[in-house]
Amino acid sequence: MKRTVCFGAAVATLLSTGAGFADEGDTLAEVKGRDQLICGVNAGLVGFASPDANGNWTGFDIAICKAVAAAVLGDPTKVKYVPTTGQTRFTALASGEVDILSRNSTWTFSRDTDLNLDFAGINYYDGQGFMVPRSLGVSSAKELGGATICIQTGTTTELNLADYFRANNMEYQPVNIDSNAEGEQQYMAGACDAYTTDASGLAATRAAFANPDDHIILPEIISKEPLGPVVRHGDNNWGDIVRWTLYALIAAEEYGVTSANIDELASNSENPEVQRLLGTTGDLGAMIGLDADWAKRAIKASGNYGEIFAKTIGEETPIGLARGLNAQWTQGGLIYAMPFR
């Protein structure tokens, strides 16, 4: 009897800690009260999210955290970064351990509905690709039959990989890994012939190699991977704040608002949409529980979407990603902010 009771108590303790803080509905009040934004990020993917030598996090996904912190708390540095793996990320968000997940996560149906998450928008349109050593002599994913492939568990890429090889009637041997760093190590040691993840992740990983040119990213893109920041389902106001902070960064690029000219434009822009965006006219901030300058601070934190892209993962950086699909809609890309009105 005693043993059964102990077991039951242990089970219940474990269960309740998993879901302990989940029912607070007002994330905005909580973040303001704490005076700090807790941001779930990738445990290390150069260009997207990685700590530098001094422990300062930088990257494309980090810029979202900074922008939200600036909009909500007035200071882009008031962020605590919590590194998460592919397996822990959604649990961390659902359990309330983090306020927002800015960690190249793919927007899928079941995550949006069954996992009770809300995707606040898309900050990078990606697709799954393969990287192989040049010496392997492979030029197409169709030649990978029988190969050993490193794959991060708990990702959409894991499922896409299984489907792709099944659809093409090819065999493969998966090597399950937990994080990008581990995958990089296994791939470099030759424990797998190919490494597969989002093409942007491959580019970022390759950029960190000593000899990036010894590795090629195969032309096949086998899936759609729309990546973006995620919040818990149910707290709609918080979702709006994150969503419109992202749109503010995107709209700023579209209207030519940069971190350099933002103060000037805030006072003398003729464009009514820019005026509304920067809080010169109208009162958009109040509608989401923030002040009039929220978007201005968000844009100032690390620049507009284009500036962030260029600084962290763009063609001038070692990662060298072209804008491609991620160009503004006015430039033939898919990046599109809803109207500020």
Binding site: D23, Q173, V175
Partner: protein, 417 residues
């Protein structure tokens, strides 16, 4: 007189305060109170969990087990592909857990008994070496051993493509190829195969069934022969020579199988990216198995040593006085008596090994923790259900092991009559 005295000592009428002040009721009272408190705590925790889950919009539903899994698993004991259900994926994981635990328990016992005996050896060098082994493995966490052994495999062994071509490395002994992913070893193939027993999607080769049948028969025959030899020895004082028959029992059948079915070794061949033919034993499996074996073996060695030391020195002196050689003394006199002390702690070592096998996740070995508690839980978002199931399964495995070992224990423990 007597009646009156006993009537005078009759229990006073029951009062509520006696629940606390009367020694007879007090212990019961406290047990009831503690029981109520514990149960309320349990109720509160469960209620809290359900409320929180409801607030999250999550319900408890095990239906996900029967939807398509969609992911692949490197090592499979029974057939599986990504179109199978999460349930089958969990089953694959469970079988992988059982496989590595079973092989680990056997190997750890062999290592433990050998080291435990050698540690008490009169040979100074052996005894010291074994002490070093035991202390090193006992005092460094298992996870580190798993990672170290895996890293050694990955870093020092060549990639399969290093075996390719004229200037490629030769296979070890012409048939074994250690690589940074797996070790390719030859498989035994029958030229005239008797086919396989089909059980749904599982096919068990008849050859394996025949072989195991012959092995069991040989073991039983050997027992009968030895029992007969003992009877003759008791009657006549002369023990008939049994070893040629015993040897033949274990040597003749395999050779006969070899000839009848035309068995041959299938040497692994490098085809494309990887070896094909033969058997590929995953490094993650070997690393986990080796680490579990060496780590638990060190603990078992100490248990064995304690058991041996618990047998009075007079026993071995008496055995030597009878002229028994040291290894027979150990096998016939010391170890049987030591087993009484050895078996109970050995049970917990087996349990530890089985539970520790869940560290497999560190090297990407897909055991129950990797499939049900890892990918399935993550892809379906059903962490709670998965963890519950996993706890139940591990509990069941542990209870089974400890039940079986307790039966064994009751057979070897000192019979008091």
């Amino acid at each position: 007189m007597i009646d009156r005295a006993s009537a005078g000592r009759q229990d006073p009428p029951f009062r509520l305060s006696m629940l606390i002040y009367d020694k007879r009721y007090r212990s019961l009272t406290f047990q009831v109170i503690v029981f109520i408190l514990v149960m309320s705590l349990v109720w509160w925790l469960i209620n809290n969990t359900i409320t929180n889950l409801a607030n999250l919009g999550k319900d408890i539903d095990f239906g996900f087990l029967f939807s398509r899994a969609g992911y692949d698993i490197p090592q499979q004991v029974i057939p599986y592909n990504s179109d199978d259900t999460h349930f089958r994926a969990a089953l694959i994981g469970l079988l992988n857990t059982l496989l590595v635990s079973f092989l680990g328990c056997i190997a750890a016992t062999i290592v433990g008994v050998t080291v435990g005996v050698l540690r008490l050896s009169n040979n100074w060098l052996f005894a010291r070496l074994m002490t070093i082994y035991v202390e090193i493995f006992r005092n460094i966490p298992l996870l580190l051993w798993i990672l170290i052994i895996f890293a050694v495999f990955t870093e020092i062994t060549p990639a399969p493509r290093a075996y390719r071509g004229e200037e490629g490395i030769d296979l070890f002994l012409g048939m074994v190829a250690p690589t940074n992913r797996y070790t390719a070893i030859p498989a035994i193939i029958a030229a005239r195969s008797p086919g396989a027993l089909e059980l749904g999607r599982i096919a068990i080769p008849w050859l394996a069934i025949i072989f195991i049948g012959l092995l069991v028969a040989a073991v039983m025959l050997r027992r009968a022969i030895n029992a007969r030899a003992s009877r003759i020895q008791e009657r006549t004082g002369q023990r008939p020579v049994t070893w040629p028959v015993n040897l033949a029992l274990f040597v003749v059948p395999p050779i006969a199988l070899w000839i009848i079915f035309g068995l041959y070794l299938e040497i692994p061949q490098l085809a494309g990216f990887n070896f094909s033919g033969g058997i590929s034993v995953d490094n993650s499996f070997v690393a986990l198995w080796l680490a579990l074996t060496l780590y638990t073996g060190a603990f078992i060695a100490e248990i064995v040593r304690a058991g041996i030391l618990s047998v009075s020195k007079g026993q071995s002196e008496a055995a030597f006085a009878l002229g028994l050689r040291p290894n027979r003394t150990m096998n016939l006199v010391i170890l049987p008596q030591a087993l009484r002390v050895i078996v109970p702690p050995l049970i917990s070592q087996y349990l530890n090994l089985t539970k520790n096998s869940s560290l497999a996740i560190a090297v990407g070995y897909m055991d129950l923790r990797g499939t049900l508690g890892g990918t399935t839980a993550n892809q379906t978002g059903r962490e709670l259900e998965s963890i519950l199931l996993m706890m139940l399964v591990y509990l069941a495995i542990s209870l089974l092991i400890s039940g079986a070992m307790n039966i064994y224990n009751s057979r070897v423990r000192l019979k008091e009559r």
